[in-house]
Amino acid sequence: MAIIVDEKTKLVVQGITGNQGNFHTRQMLDYGTRVVAGVTPGRGGAEVHGVPVYDTVQEAVDKHGANASVIFVPAPGVRDAAFEAIGSGIKTLVIVTEHVPVQDAMAIVAYAGERGVTVIGPNTYGICSPGKCKIGIPPNVIFKPGHVGVVARSGTLSYEITAAISNAGFGESTVVGMGGDRVVGLTFIDVLKMFERDAETEAVTLVGEIGGTAEEEAAEFIKGMQKPVVAFLAGRAAPPGKRMGHAGAIIERGRGTFESKVQALEAAGALVAKLPWEVPDLLRKALGGKR
């Protein structure tokens, strides 16, 4: 099981001949991900770490059965690359590139919606179902196969918490980085639904932050979940109205404050950690309590 990606995932790397694409293809191969092809238009026929390079995603799909793609191309080319992946029959699309124009992101998400394609990102570290498949850029060492589903908006904070979960002995079913941009493919609710259905997942960790109302909306769904949810939220110390790097992390009109998120999540039955490394303790408590 696990969600979205697993040992059946066959990955194509768009922008494989660039520095990032090249480096992380090596990392993903080392992790055991089935990287079946790379794409760089005009570079068809080349090879990167033994992975064949094509001019089009269609060739990777037709010749290797690729069903997932990861995009490392520079921001101005992301829209085209994403549309190519979606139009060529890819079912899971991970967009690592940051600084993608938000109107491009809206178009990509709309097109993917029409075609039933799952989009992770833009501006995501990616996704990992430990022991099965890692797509994106997180360090290989932080993951451990297990039964906690992790879903996060931000990257490094998510590594921090995932490493804490692994080190505490739990391990993860799947770790999903939704991406830090204002418009991304998945919502917390999308991912929570998948974890709720996934037989391998016993508890869920949600890593959120101030700004927007995504956590408040997630709380509505959490109310009806069978599986326990442990949350950590960043931004308690952020002053109102200051932009904290993520375009999404702007406190607007009294909504999306740290307090409103904590309140909503706790009211929905989630346990909210005060410090990142408290998450494993709360997981222990939650799993003890509900099971």
């Binding site: 990257g155 490094t156 950590f232």
Partner: protein, 373 residues
């Protein structure tokens, strides 16, 4: 990137949206000349990147050219909402029958543009009761069509020629929104003046990430001088009130670092996200800038992913050598990609690092002389 009102208005005008007659002025003399040209009472509006200028005294009126010069002279060089006024917009004073608000922004939850409108314009849109606000999500694929304009007009209770003009203006605003990769485009107030609908104010915020395709636009800088210096390094930076300088890699972890510092009683001096995979040079420059603000201590919190621990270590060593030692205590937490290499470099230069974020945070709070006793 926010555009100044006068820049936003010029895009409105180029799209065929009616704006008040007038021009921008940098001196009282220019303001006087413009008022003379217009030959009627004028409004003199501070060009600053902040809302609610009126309440803060940033908008004045004048009946004669001489008065215009006097009012401009009061505004130019003054500070309104902590921002220095360098230009004023001198415009005909409109006769106002009704003030509307009309804007388009991005609804993150719906993942599409959304029109926001109200017949109660001219004031803070935040203060308008929800029931008076018209929201119309726009399909990014098909765009905002003429009939949407009419739907908004009807929901604002407008019909006939005024409704027709509002529908037309909304169409044109949407075209600008798309053409300029806007995060926000708005007119507040959009004024009904006799038979005309006029954008008395205009705002256009362009998505920073789209600037590569908007070479034609002027580049407008925002923030404090310190913030601008760090932004030029390509890093996200916000000044705060405290005295513990902070650098971390990633917005979420940086926010969490501030939270943890605060939890232990520390007062962070800034938010600095060194981002994913910043190179040695900008990292070193950012550390220098942080140290130049005379904090009581500094915390470097790195969980290496794309960011390599050896790069961060090299940046620290570079600054240490350049400054002949750090002027304040620097607490380093360093784990992740190339951790071993990073720790080795630090050790060779007499520096040590924590593996645990909590310990590092407690230590820096202690060194800054703050925290719970």
């Amino acid at each position: 990137m926010k555009l100044y009102e006068y820049m936003a208005k010029s895009t409105f005008a180029s799209a065929g949206i009616r704006i008040p007659q007038g021009r921008v002025a940098s001196t009282p003399e220019e303001a006087e000349a413009i008022a003379r040209e217009l030959g009627r009472p004028v409004a003199i509006k501070s060009q600053i990147l902040a809302g609610a200028r009126g309440k803060a005294g940033g908008i004045k009126f004048a009946d004669t050219p001489a008065e215009a010069a006097a009012r401009a002279s009061e505004l130019l060089g003054s500070e309104i909402r902590d921002l220095r006024v360098e230009k004023v917009l001198v415009e005909e004073k409109l006769s106002i029958d009704k003030e509307l608000y009309l804007g388009i922004t991005i609804d993150k939850a719906l993942k599409r543009p959304v029109v926001i409108a109200t017949a109660e314009g001219g004031i803070n849109i935040e203060d308008v009761p929800e029931k008076s606000i018209v929201r119309l999500p726009v399909d990014i694929v098909w765009g905002l069509l003429p009939y949407h304009g009419w739907q908004v007009a009807r929901r604002l209770g407008l019909g006939g020629k005024i409704g027709s003009q509002l529908a037309d203006i909304l169409q044109k605003m949407y075209k600008l929104f798309r053409a300029y990769d806007a995060e926000l485009i708005e007119s507040n107030p959009l004024v009904i003046s006799g038979e005309n609908v006029i954008a008395a104010d205009a705002r256009l915020n362009v998505d920073d990430d789209s600037l590569f395709r908007h070479q034609d636009l002027p580049r407008v800088e925002e923030g404090t001088p310190l913030e601008r210096r760090v932004h030029e390094l390509g890093l996200a930076f916000v000044q705060l009130d405290g005295d513990i300088a902070v650098m971390a890699n990633g917005a979420g972890i940086t926010m969490a670092t501030l939270d943890v510092l605060q939890y232990y009683g520390g007062r962070p001096a800034n938010f600095l996200d060194a981002g994913g995979g910043a190179a040695v040079e900008p990292t070193a420059r950012a550390i220098e800038v942080l140290l130049s603000t005379n904090p009581k201590a500094m915390l470097i919190n790195i969980f290496g992913g794309i960011t390599r621990c050896d790069d961060v270590a090299n940046a620290l060593v570079q600054v240490q050598e350049k400054m002949g030692g750090f002027p304040v205590p620097v607490v380093i937490r360093l784990v992740g990609t190339n951790e071993k290499e990073g720790l080795q470099i630090l050790q060779e230069h007499g520096l040590t690092a924590y593996r645990d974020m909590g310990e590092a945070a407690r230590k820096v709070v202690e060194l800054a002389g703050e925290g719970r006793s």
